[in-house]
């Protein structure tokens, strides 16, 4: 188990280095000079050269990359070219907003997706199943940013139930104002995921329901409720756990579209702005930050699986 864990961790570090290198290479495919951007329009050649030297931009690209990677590893993520702000500071500031969005959305989509999936699997091809699956299909097919705009138009602008975007910190404005500002973003994001989860859960449950051990359970006289609850649902939820790990991790790296529609200044917006401004340290920081969650979720899901199913450990 320890060896397995160590190997997984070692591999994760390599993946993070790969993601950083890729980002770095994409960034330097463009012939812009960050030093010139910082110095401004009327800077002399000497000023630009000095900034280049200060930032280490005069050194060969591979040296710059190695320097970035080693510094990042010890927790020094550098300073933004655009705002001179420390990258980690900006991320720390933006993260609670993204976390608020992801956390609430996850709760909403689990509360929506799991009951929808279970009920339609229990009564396949019924009217309810049709309704639930139509809802799920809408969820996975509507572009989230567009749903967000429609919600804003109807529930915020026309009905006035919710504010028109903006974000309130839980510490400053209190729980109620925080949640009030986030209800629409939560539902917007949750619709997409609830759709996927309901569909996945339904098809897994129908698949498992045809297996021999479920027939045995039914044959020995267990009530339908017990068969579904104890035998079918429990097994069908396993792949859902994997999906949940990956999806939450992905969202913690920033929900660019939802954040931009609702004006939530989270990680996604930070990354997007950094990319547009050619702000290399911020780009590297946000992409690496997002990748850390994805990689960590992989390791955690792996461990949970090994714990739930001992056969997997031996294979590794």
């Amino acid at each position: 188990m320890t060896v397995h864990l160590l190997r997984r961790l070692g591999w994760s570090v390599l993946v993070l280095a790969f993601v950083s290198t890729l980002t770095f290479m994409i960034f330097f495919a463009i012939p812009t000079n960050p030093a010139a951007l910082i110095a401004g329009k009327y800077a002399s050649k000497e000023t630009i050269a000095k900034i280049e030297k200060d930032l280490g931009l005069d050194r060969p690209k591979p040296v710059q990359l190695v320097r970035f990677l080693t510094h990042a590893a010890i927790g020094d993520w550098g300073y933004s070219y655009a705002s001179q702000q420390p990258v980690l500071g900006a991320i720390r500031e933006a993260f609670p907003r993204t976390l608020s969005l992801a956390f609430g959305a996850t709760v909403v989509w689990l509360l929506l997706g799991i009951p929808l999936g279970v009920l339609s699997a229990v009564k396949p091809n019924s009217l309810w199943d049709g309704f639930a699956m139509a809802f799920a299909l809408f969820g996975i097919s509507a572009p989230a940013y567009w749903t967000g705009l429609v919600f804003l138009r109807v529930f915020a602008d026309q009905l006035g139930w919710f504010p028109l975007g903006d974000y309130q910190a839980i510490g400053e404005a209190g729980v109620l104002a925080w949640a009030h500002h986030l209800v629409l973003p939560w539902i917007t994001l949750a619709l997409l995921y609830a759709g996927w989860y309901a569909r996945m859960l339904r098809s897994h449950m129908l698949e498992i329901g045809r297996l021999d051990y479920v027939r045995t359970a039914r044959a020995k006289g267990l009530s339908p409720r017990a068969v579904v609850g104890r035998h079918v649902l429990r097994n069908a939820l396993l792949p859902i756990v994997t999906m949940l790990g990956a999806d939450v991790a992905y969202l913690l790296g920033g929900a660019v579209l939802t954040e931009s529609v609702y004006g939530i200044p989270g990680i996604g917006g930070l990354a997007w702005r950094a990319i547009r401004q050619r702000d290399l340290p911020m780009v590297m920081g946000t992409v690496l930050f997002a990748a850390v969650f994805i990689v960590a979720a992989n390791v955690i899901v792996d461990l949970v699986y090994a714990w739930l199913d001992p056969r997997i450990q031996q294979e590794a």
Partner: protein, 325 residues
């Protein structure tokens, strides 16, 4: 009791004969066309494809206007009355008998732009899928067939690619490369999507290559190339078709998201995503500008998903017990 049992057996045998008259592909086709939702989705897509292909003709002749003409100071006749397309305070006309879906901020007809946008969205999504299929199929086949070091290298690379935050990668690529080019967007869609297919294909090849018919072909002296092309590929066709359908759906969403963020298809070329972006600041006063392109995306992606679900059920009947909605 015994008579009933015999009857059942005869009936089952008779049914098997009836099914055996069709090839597997014909049986799958029949199953697909017996699913009304899948057929409805396919019909919508065909109509949309026709309208998109004929957009220049439909817009010029059918609607008698141009998707690119500005009517900022122009007037149109509605019910015998001359009405300005864009009012004095800058607000365009909403949906009306002349402009069915309304006009945008520059007084351009939204319906015409929607049809031109369909051309761009479909073209980009289809080619993006084609690229992802070439990459994913190649990587998956090589990894699954040769196993060993090749498999390790390809699988590890795929894993690492999957840890890249997709949307950020796409935005970064789009803003670094020549912006607004349709080809760049296609390249991005292809690069972002191939990993899923590579995984599916690899897993299928790993299990297929252990089957007897592959063993038999190899014993008969078939070359690697023949095994891959003649024996493995036809068995992967089902997965490929389903992937392609769902991947086009995903690409339509991703392309529109990129264009919405301003790094995909650039105006004045209309794309559904950049039309929503143009309408976003005015969603309270001129809601139709952002509403209808979104409806177009929604209907198209719903149709693609319906077709994809139908195909999946038709190609692997054991795994599904019918879908509704």
């Amino acid at each position: 009791m015994s008579a009933t049992a015999t009857d059942t057996v005869t009936f089952a045998a008779g049914e098997r004969n009836a099914v055996a008259e069709f090839s597997p592909w014909r049986a799958a086709t029949l199953r697909f066309f017996s699913d009304p939702w899948a057929v409805a989705g396919l019909a919508f897509l065909l109509v949309l494809a026709l309208l998109a292909l004929a957009a220049p003709w439909v817009v010029e002749r059918g609607l008698r206007r141009s998707a690119f003409d500005l009517h900022m100071t122009g007037t149109v006749a509605i019910g015998g009355r001359e009405v300005e397309v864009v009012s004095g305070d800058g607000l365009p006309l909403g949906p009306n008998p002349h402009f069915w879906l309304g006009a945008d901020l520059l007084g351009r007809d939204l319906l015409s732009r929607l049809l031109y946008g369909a051309r761009v969205s479909m073209f980009v999504s289809l080619l993006g899928t084609a690229l992802a299929m070439v990459l994913g199929l190649g990587a998956g086949l090589l990894a699954g067939y040769y196993r060993g070091a090749v498999d390790t290298a390809i699988s590890r690379f795929t894993d690492a690619m999957m840890a890249v935050p997709i949307l950020l990668l796409a935005i970064a690529l789009a803003s670094v490369m020549r912006q607004g080019s349709v080809w760049i967007v296609i390249l991005i869609l292809g690069l972002v999507n191939w990993t899923y297919l590579a995984r599916i294909i690899r897993a299928e090849v790993l299990s297929l290559r252990e089957r007897d018919f592959i063993e038999a072909a190899r014993a008969l002296g078939a070359s690697d190339r023949a095994l891959l092309v003649r024996h493995l590929l036809p068995n992967l066709l089902g997965s490929l078709i389903v992937f392609a359908t769902l991947s086009v759906a995903g690409n339509i969403l991703l392309e529109s998201a990129l264009s919405f963020l301003g790094v995909g298809i650039r105006p004045p070329t209309p794309s559904w995503g950049n039309m929503i972006e143009e309408g976003m600041p005015f969603y309270t006063v001129a809601w139709w500008i952002m509403l209808f392109p979104g409806v177009a995306i929604l209907l198209t992606v719903v149709s693609l998903n319906l077709v994809g679900d139908g195909l999946r059920a038709a190609l692997a009947p054991a795994g599904e017990s019918g879908r509704s909605g």
